[in-house]
């Protein structure tokens, strides 16, 4: 449905319609998150149609997976969503363990929660910072990255790498956390808790930010589910669905015994869950939902991510305590040439950007027969097209930024 259609109600009189402009946003562009090409058809400033073109970062991960063993494939999962690499590793490891029916010891499970949630915080910081950058607010970007640097330093101590970790492997993790790591992590968390309200002041409650994001790109719940959107995009539309609660048992057992909330607006009360056990500054309540914001718009998706950071901090605190109280093995990784049993397994995990699924089909050899990565951003990106019809050109980065896409995951 494009604006060239004569029956389009947006066109008042066919004669006075001006010609449409074909514009390319990307693939090299400061604001599309990665190499994404958005072919826009605009009538002046109003976008009539939008078509995303992907594939610029396609590196044939799935074909490569057929030539490597399960453990050898872990670095390739890093490079998919490189901003949340630990969660990618976790997804792949859990899938292989599901196929092998291998259980990770308790300490390893707490380790996985700790690392996964730390990476969720780092990933949401990037999402928040770059979203501000898309809209022209330059400073939150640096504040977010300052905090992220500290997380990356911690990760470097744990596994030696800052971005592509390959830390969580099938069977557990490649190595246990070094001594004193949890203490440093606690120190970071205590310092980070005080800073979270700063981000709200900079962006969430800023009048110009609200003017740019409230009411833009409204995604209805039905459309979100139909388009396969998951993660904060889905929860920002009011759908109560989080795989850490509702997913497969092999994944939800990781979070057994942890207290945290699913961040989703309660349709009856119109409020977000605000229990944070003192993570958010004492006495301060979360910023109010502005009156312009409609459920499912960019502001809500952004807000969901901000609140998820608080819940992740809660989880990190609990997991540090549980990890320290635990003794035993962190989970030795499986053999490099471990033969996978005949069969197939599919498992989705709640990655920071949505539900990331890995599908492994094995014919009994050590190399899988087929590897498939179901990317969360792949489906999230598709919804850009209907959301951006009829908006102004300046809203396109606002919408794409609120969906928080990473091309590495989409193209694999």
């Amino acid at each position: 449905m494009s604006a060239t259609n004569i029956d389009d109600p947006r066109i008042v009189e066919f004669d006075v319609r001006t010609d449409e402009m074909l514009i390319n946003m990307g693939p090299q562009h400061p604001s599309t998150h990665g190499v994404l090409r958005l072919a826009l058809r605009t009538d002046g400033e109003i976008v009539a149609d939008l078509e995303p073109h992907i594939g610029y970062l396609h590196r044939c991960a799935e074909k490569i997976g057929e030539n490597l063993t399960a453990r050898q494939f872990v670095p390739y999962t890093d490079r998919m969503d490189y901003l949340a690499a630990m969660n990618m590793n976790l997804g792949w490891s859990l899938t292989i363990e599901k196929l092998l029916d291998h259980d990770v010891p308790e300490k390893g499970r707490h380790l996985r929660v700790l690392i996964g949630e730390m990476n969720r915080v780092a990933s949401h910081l990037v999402a928040m910072g770059t979203y501000g950058l898309d809209l022209g607010a330059f400073s939150p970007f640096l504040y977010a990255f300052r905090e992220r640097e500290k997380i990356l330093d911690l990760f470097e101590k744990a596994c030696g790498a800052r971005l592509t970790y390959s830390y969580i492997a099938p069977g557990g993790a490649t190595a246990d956390l070094p001594g004193g790591w949890t203490a440093e992590c606690s120190e970071f968390i205590n310092q980070f808790k005080k800073i979270i309200p700063e981000f709200h002041t900079l962006l969430t409650t800023n009048a110009i930010f609200i003017a740019r994001t409230a009411g833009i790109g409204v995604l209805s719940p039905r459309m979100a589910i139909d388009y396969g959107c998951t993660g904060p995009v889905l929860r920002g539309s009011g759908v109560y669905h989080d795989l850490r609660f509702h997913g497969e048992e092999r994944y939800t057992e990781l979070y057994d015994g942890y207290e945290f909330d699913v961040i989703c607006m309660d349709s009856e009360t119109g409020k977000y869950p605000d229990s944070h056990q003192g993570v958010y500054k004492d006495g301060l309540s979360y910023p109010e939902v502005p009156s312009d914001a409609i459920l499912g718009d960019c502001w809500h998706r952004f807000y969901v991510r901000m609140l998820e950071v608080v819940q992740s901090v809660r989880l990190i605190e609990q997991s540090i305590a549980k990890y320290d109280a635990c003794s035993g093995s962190h989970g030795e990784p499986i053999k490099l040439t471990q033969k996978l049993p005949l069969g197939e397994a599919y498992l989705e995990t709640e990655a920071p950007r949505g539900q990331m699924g890995f599908y492994v089909v094995s014919d009994g050899q050590s190399n899988p027969w087929r590897v498939r990565a179901r990317s969360s951003c792949f489906s999230n990106l598709y919804v850009t097209a209907p959301l951006c019809r009829g908006v102004l050109l300046a809203d396109v980065p606002a919408v794409v930024g609120s969906l928080d896409v990473v091309m590495g995951e989409i193209d694999r």
Partner: protein, 437 residues
Amino acid sequence: MAEFFNEYIFGNGPWSWLGYVVAALIACILVIHVVAVGAMGFIWLERKVAGRIQDRLGPTRVGGKFGWLQTLADGIKLIAKEDFTPDVADRFLFKIAPYVAFAASFSAFIALPFADGVVANHVNTAVFFVLAVLGLEVFGVILAGYGSGSKWSLFGAMREAAQVVSYEVPLGMCVVVPVFLCGTMNLTTIGNMQEGFITNWLVFNDPFTFVIAMVYFTCATASVNRAPFDLAEAESELVAGFHTEYSGLRWSLFFMAEYGSMFLVSGLAVILFFGGSNGPIPVGDWLANLLGGVKEGSIGANLPSLGAITVGVIGVANFILKGVIGVIVMIWIRWTFPRLRIDQVMSMCLKYCVPIAAFGFIGAVGWEVLDLPTPNNLDEKSRYEYHEKWSHEYLETQQQTKPAANDRHARQAVPTEAIITTVAVSQNAVEVNGGKQ
């Protein structure tokens, strides 16, 4: 200055025109240097302030610990860059656009007084002149956007044109208020009338003028395309807007034009509302008295007295300081807020700035008409005393009468054809060197 050259070098005969030409050239060079060096300084300042706001340091390597010479290094790099124009560009328009923007921004400084009498050209309708020339900058932007042959540039240029032209309306309305209060468009006069204590500044004249000053600052930020109104160069959407295709020296000209305009509108705000070159407490009198003057008839008889020079320098320093503070506020705002969308920018202009400016104008006028109390003594001062000070007719009359040596209100007479004076004469100059014939 011209008469100085004519007196000592060229003689007053057939070569006297050379004196004026040389004086004009010196004037141009001074103005361009002031603004170019100022732009360099502002770019450095922006990077430092931005760095601090973002919890980092900014340039720290070139030219010592604070990176003073960073902009110079960048300028050298830019000059050394390859100069190319895109294939699809309209060559002539593409090349001329930066110069148009640059010229518009810099020309407005001709009428901007840095202190009492320190101005490149005494323009009696300076306010009008400055606003008019400032509005020419948009031509450069449109030419750049169209001439680049790229859709993105065109988008940026069109947005900018719409924005700048719309914001000139509330800007003009805001500017009319101090003009009305002072009764003159002469910027030097307006600055001088705010002499004395800080309460004399027009911004404290009445609450409406205060609001008008704030609205002026907002509209000024919009008309020079600074964030949050910088969608003409919106990085994240249009790569770089109208100057996407520019690199090297051409791009640096746009940049200098932008920072020049920033200082210009900030300086204009300073003169119109914040006291011009006057400080919060009047030291001019006291200093001039202290430092004294020059004996009449000596070689330096035509030169200003030391007291006058000092007062002039302080005035210039005051003005620049306040202007820089205004620029810092603009920088501060830029690095704090996100960017507004074009329709929000336009609605802000038409739905907020214009009505508020209009109400402020009516309020300020009403305040004066109803003779409500104001903290300054503008009413008591004879406006004509300041009014005609630099006008050509007044200067002519001064030439004919030789003022008494101790006449506090006499002025140092200056030839009417002077194109530039660097003489700072405070209205309380004690020593008068006698009329120059």
